[in-house]
């Protein structure tokens, strides 16, 4: 399908001049790029290039010292992570960040928490709105379970699942938030070929079926070139290239960065 088929539109997210430092370590320096609605945007770069930090800035886990983030037309320097979630930014982590003491179902249901309105008093009595909400959201969660084909592990505590499935459950939890923007931090790291193919299919399905905008960090260049519409390349906290997969592939700076040529 062509991009126009998928309805790729105006930028939904713009990152402008973001700089972030921890103590003396400068993780990001004046990074700017945008993400258009419905596109799959990849961030690549060597280890330590600041990719994860970039995602953490976008969804409010880190607070940059400089720069602005514009999401759906609203600009900000930083925000609290849970507010970013409320605005429609979903996220998975490089090292799986599931709630290990809970089942798959509960993990994904937790992703719906942000949409629930009943108070804890109503919930403890389990009537009226609280009960209705709980049942209605269960249905939404089941649709996601069905979508990601994890019916058979619904009641399994996540700690007992193999790595690949944990990754999938984490994606499910992020999807449960019905995010407009989905940030995926190395969704395929450590997977075997078959699991990678499944995950690619799911990411593309999410993008197509729900129109979700996806920003992903990935090391597997084959995957990046296959599924992303545009690619940002970071190196030592700076943006060194930005464009379609083909443009980036041919860029000499990018090649140098990956081959470790001295600056």
């Amino acid at each position: 399908m062509t991009p126009s088929d998928r309805g790729i539109g105006a930028p939904i997210l713009a990152v402008e001049g973001v700089s972030l430092a921890f103590g003396g370590v400068r993780a990001l320096q004046g990074v700017s790029f945008d993400v258009r609605e419905h596109e799959v945007r990849a961030i690549i770069g060597p280890n330590g290039a600041g990719k994860s930090s970039m995602l953490n800035v976008i969804n409010g886990v880190y607070h940059p010292q400089e720069g602005t983030i514009t999401f759906k037309g609203r600009s900000r320097r930083d925000m609290v992570a849970h507010e970013a979630a409320a605005q429609g930014i979903g996220r998975t982590f490089q090292n799986i960040a599931l709630f290990r003491g809970m089942t798959v179902l509960d993990n994904i249901m937790t992703g719906r928490n942000v949409k629930m309105r009943s108070t804890f008093l109503e919930q403890s009595i389990w009537i009226g709105r609280a009960r209705r909400e709980e049942l209605a959201h269960r249905r939404k969660v089941e649709e996601i379970i069905d979508f990601l084909e994890i019916q058979h592990i619904r009641r399994t505590p996540v700690g007992r699942l193999p790595y690949g499935l944990q990754k999938r459950v984490e994606l499910a939890r992020a999807l449960a938030m019905e995010p407009e923007l989905l940030l995926l931090d190395e969704p395929m790291a450590g997977m075997n070929l078959e699991e990678k193919q499944d995950m690619c299919r799911f990411i593309l399905d999410v993008n197509e079926q729900f129109g979700t905008t996806v920003v992903l960090i990935e090391h597997d260049m084959g995957v990046v070139m296959d599924i992303s519409d545009r690619v940002v390349v970071l190196d030592y906290g700076r943006k060194i290239a930005d464009g379609t997969p083909d443009e980036v592939r041919g860029n000499q700076t990018v090649i140098d960065a990956y081959l470790g040529v001295a600056h």
Binding site: G23, S52, N56, V61, F93, A97
Partner: protein, 301 residues
């Protein structure tokens, strides 16, 4: 009776000296925390165990120094057993689990020590009177306990000894490496298990010293285990992994507690030393969560 100023100093100094006693207990916590990441709530019970064992031996006619030697041996065995039986199976468990397990250990040790030696209180005589030092009182009009000074001296020696032990000996350096990074220490061939055993033994020794001093001060009884509760705010203030922190924290807590008790206590009914150190430490932590000497950690996500 001296002037208000000298009275103030007297209060502060006695506070500082009491603080040294807190530091002494806190030191045991720090040692174990540094080496194995365990907040050993049972440190208080170890102090009690040591003091009770010593006193009971002496009461049964054992020579003072022999009693110390026996008690030290018992404490070392106890430390090593604790490390073997209780903590080793819990390697890599969350810190909070380790903390809870030491609460269990506390109960066990309390029951054990009283089960063996009986529950009745004992007096402990080290030969130093808990009386004001006449010499100082004559010169400055301030009343400072001999015993407190003696305890401070012991504490100073202990701290110096430990510092030297950490700085100069091979084991000490290994220990510091362990404290910095378990994995890395393991990778460079430091025998973690051996180190832990040594640390628990040293902690047992520190408990013995603290037990003797505190026991002489308050008598040897069940409530001696609560000295741990005195040490905890010290640690919150000074950080769980810093010997210097334990000392400075102890001094701050000791002094401020005394000052508050003397100057604020009367207005609120007294007895505030039970909670004042905690509130002080808490308020402090709210502004500096990493403690006095702790390093600021960045949560990598």
């Amino acid at each position: 009776m001296g002037s208000p100023v000298s009275f103030f100093f007297e209060v502060v100094i006695s506070g500082l000296l009491a603080g040294v006693m807190y530091s002494l207990v806190a030191l045991g916590f720090v040692l174990i925390y540094k080496a194995s990441g365990v907040l050993n709530f049972a440190q208080g019970a170890m102090v009690f165990f040591a003091a009770l064992t010593f006193v009971s031996l002496v009461e049964r006619g054992v020579n003072f120094w022999l009693a110390i030697a026996i008690t030290l041996a018992v404490m070392i065995v106890l430390g090593i057993l604790t490390e073997r039986i209780v903590l080793r199976p819990l390697v890599n468990q969350p810190a909070i689990t380790l903390f809870m397990v030491t609460i269990g250990l506390t109960f066990f040790l309390e029951g054990l020590s009283q089960g063996i030696w009986g529950s009745q209180p004992h007096g402990l005589e080290l030969g130093i009177q808990d009386q004001p030092m006449q010499w100082l009182a004559d010169r400055t009009g301030m009343f400072v306990s001999q015993f407190d000074l003696f305890a401070s001296a012991v504490a100073a020696i202990l701290v110096t000894g430990l510092a030297l032990f950490f700085q100069r000996t091979r084991i000490g350096r290994a220990l510091r490496a362990v404290a910095d990074d378990h994995q890395a220490a393991l990778a460079v061939g430091i025998p973690l298990k051996q180190i832990w055993a040594i640390v628990w033994a040293v902690a047992g020794f520190v408990a013995l010293v603290a037990g003797l001093l505190w026991g002489a001060r308050t008598g040897v009884q069940y409530s001696l285990t609560f000295v741990a509760l005195k040490a905890l705010p010290v640690l919150m203030l000074g950080g769980f992994e810093s010997i210097a922190g334990a000392i400075v924290g102890g001094l701050i807590i000791g002094a401020s507690e005394k000052v508050a008790e003397v100057y604020v206590g009367p207005y609120v009914g007294g007895g505030i030393e039970s909670w004042f150190p905690y509130v002080l430490a808490l308020v402090f932590l709210l502004f500096r969560p990493e403690g006095l000497f702790g390093e600021k950690h960045i949560d990598r996500v």
